[in-house]
Subunit: 257 residues, 4 copies
């Protein structure tokens, strides 16, 4: 079965990379370009990038209309993302676009808008090792990942994580310092699929690690839209006969949506 | 076990009642006062009311801080509810306050903010009978309700309903005109419990019906807060020894939340 | 991407067809053969059939080992299915095999074993029309199905349906006689996907109807295994250093699983 | 509000305690009696005990009929529990009885019957410390428990844990050796509430620890039955007029449940 290539858009905040030489050393073209690079190895993906300081953050109506799956990395400038653009992305996810939220994106406006909760957590930037346990070995997102994989050094995120109960819990992390975290989880919202994936602090080479790349690539496949259904709230005629009621016509219809 | 009375706040938009004589006839003091009246029969509830045209819609910081469970009826003026007040209610639900959304409140800002989806549906104001089937006979919200109950005439709401999968599906409605609807459903969001209950169009005497009163009263009991936990996102020291890493001090901490 | 054909096994009880001329008229070769016939139109499926009165009900170790997705129709002879065969199917689902349970299969041993609940319901064999509402328009199982479809005459199944909360609710049925039913639902159990689909009483030509065929065909695609993981419960060595404890060796290990 | 005392039955296998002096030293009267002792401090509980080697394992029809919440500890003799008694407990849970499964009870017949999955896991009896993180601070089961609590030495249980996705995830454990585990989880099955709680290996004094006692006591309160509904599968007359169909009478009714 021939299928059209998936328009995959990697969005990066692209600020740490310009300010912190340590980050620039790891991700010389930006985190988003590193992610785009490994996704381009998949022939089925047609990969684009965008970032905060572009007009409309690179997320115009046209760009989003043709995007199948959007990946999101942001951290220090969540507040600079325009509410109008957030509303646009929100609408597209509910219509069917896939969305993959990475690491500190847990505090992005779009993630909080879609989930409706605080999305808060514990955190520590130190020398923790992270071991991600595969809780869902049957899930397409964990294909090729064994029982677990390790990140030699990563920022710690700890529970409680202020999210609604995920539809599917994919990974749970163990940290050297004694914490645990639901580090991979999915939610269906409207017609779109959402995957949150914890790893990826800017001062570590996390996105160069093969297992991380594999999970993200799997997630893009999994998040592929099946439909694009705009929001409607229709006044619907009955499908079966109703009884006659002379009062109906007299009822006010003011305030009908 | 002695327990403190539950501060129960019934919020009504209170506009249809002033504009439409048909509505005023059914609910002379407003829908919110009718609901408050039957809730006052429960000795454990301490019942208050508030409405849109009061200062801050009657939902000041003080009022909300002492509210255990908030009930919400709105329809024609969702857009007039101030975003600041919505954010305040939102925060209180995530801290632990119970919230019961009634009927057309499916399109209220607070419901959409908490669920993150369109909350759209099909609708028809006609002569449908509604029969609500009890899908969860074990649930405290259905105590005293048998297999089903009927509303002789109600507005129709039909699927698909644009909500995240409920934690618990409580009622499914059958309508004469041929539709079905998930008319009772619960969600945990943060530390607060949310119940959506479909019936209650303003031009029908729905809130005078005993089964409807029983369900709402049960739901207030069920939604009682267990905790009040303000949102934090703490930098947390390790609980287990970490390895020494001389580079940690050099890492930038700009942009930390 | 070339993929191996999916081994699809349609299992039928094949008793009503031999005893009741009305059923034989609708399904001359048996319900299972009618289902197999329309599935054979999909080039990706390699379709087989089996039935109760074959040795081991046609469900030998070899047959099941090579089956990707199993479809199950049974009604009057659930009790004749050997417990040993049920255990075999059960194990295969937990390893990864897909399972589609049709209509009266709600009371089959395998469905009750997998779900752990009564699987009871209300029922009536009469002249009800059934209208199945599509609750999950984004789901692969509803591809090509619009808002709803109708079966002109079908047996009624009504709530409460004694099942665990489904992972995904796909269809809700409306019946002329006033009932509703969760008529399409999915569960993940172990590594296998399960879909229950309500329609298909033996005295109606339900499996000849295009929408029913489309849903079942979609479900076979959806239930395709991603893995085959045998059950293990391993004693696992630590991945991190443990403290020394001289008492460990003295502890009894009797009764270890 | 006066409420009747809750009949709480603590069931123990009571074998390790007789065979292993180390276990007998920690639990001289048996694990079940230690658990019963701390539950008896709650005035609302009426606490009884039973064990494997009693006639019918102490779980007669009469005993179960009057039991509100059953706690279950078993390990080395799961296979000796009679299938008939398991079916009896199963039926009572679906009717409404609460069930709390402790530690190695993950492999009990009743837990596997109710969940329908392997319930397998990784394990290691060594010197791990266990830290249980409170994932659900709003939940009645975690009342009085802070962010986490620790068990200085416990058996390790590791993921993947072969269970259906819990309705509510309550605790996640961190182990010194590098594993994580979903160590507190709830499921609704039929009208009964089920809580699985991981800690409690027989060679450690786990059930003497205050936090463990608090969680179990909270869970008994939470699991209190709301109803007792026997299983039925009724032929139901229509609630709305059906069209006349002369063929209905001719349809075979053989095989009706």
């Amino acid at each position: 079965m021939m299928t059209a290539p998936m328009k995959t858009l990697v969005w990066g905040e692209f600020r740490h990379e310009k300010k912190n030489p340590k980050v620039a050393e790891i991700y010389p073209q930006g985190i988003h370009e590193t992610i785009a690079d490994f996704l381009r190895k998949e022939s089925e993906f047609d990969v684009f990038t965008a970032f905060l300081d572009q007009p409309e953050h690179g997320l115009t109506e046209e760009v989003l209309a043709s995007t199948d799956v959007l990946l999101w990395w942001g951290h220090m400038a969540h507040g600079e993302v325009a509410d109008e653009v957030v509303a646009r992305v929100h609408r597209r996810v509910l219509e069917g676009m896939g969305l993959i939220i990475l690491h500190s994106g847990h505090y992005s406006k779009i993630f909080k808008t879609l989930l409706g909760t605080t999305c808060s957590l514990k955190w520590r930037e130190s020398t923790d090792k992270e071991r991600l346990w595969n809780i869902a070995p049957h899930h397409p997102i964990t294909a090729g990942i064994g029982d677990y994989f390790e990140l030699p050094v990563e920022e710690m995120y700890g529970e409680p994580f202020g999210i609604p109960t995920p539809d599917e819990l994919i990974f749970i992390s163990w940290f050297t310092g004694g914490e645990v975290f639901r580090s991979g989880a999915t939610w269906q919202r409207g017609n779109g699929r959402i995957f949150y994936f914890r790893p990826g602090h800017e001062t570590y080479p996390t996105y160069h690690q093969p297992e991380v790349q594999r999970v993200i690539s799997n997630a893009v496949h999994w998040a592929r839209p099946t439909v694009c259904i705009p929001d409607i709230c229709p006044n619907s005629p009955p499908l079966e006969p109703l009884s006659h009621d002379t009062e109906v016509a007299e009822r006010s219809t003011e305030g009908l949506r």
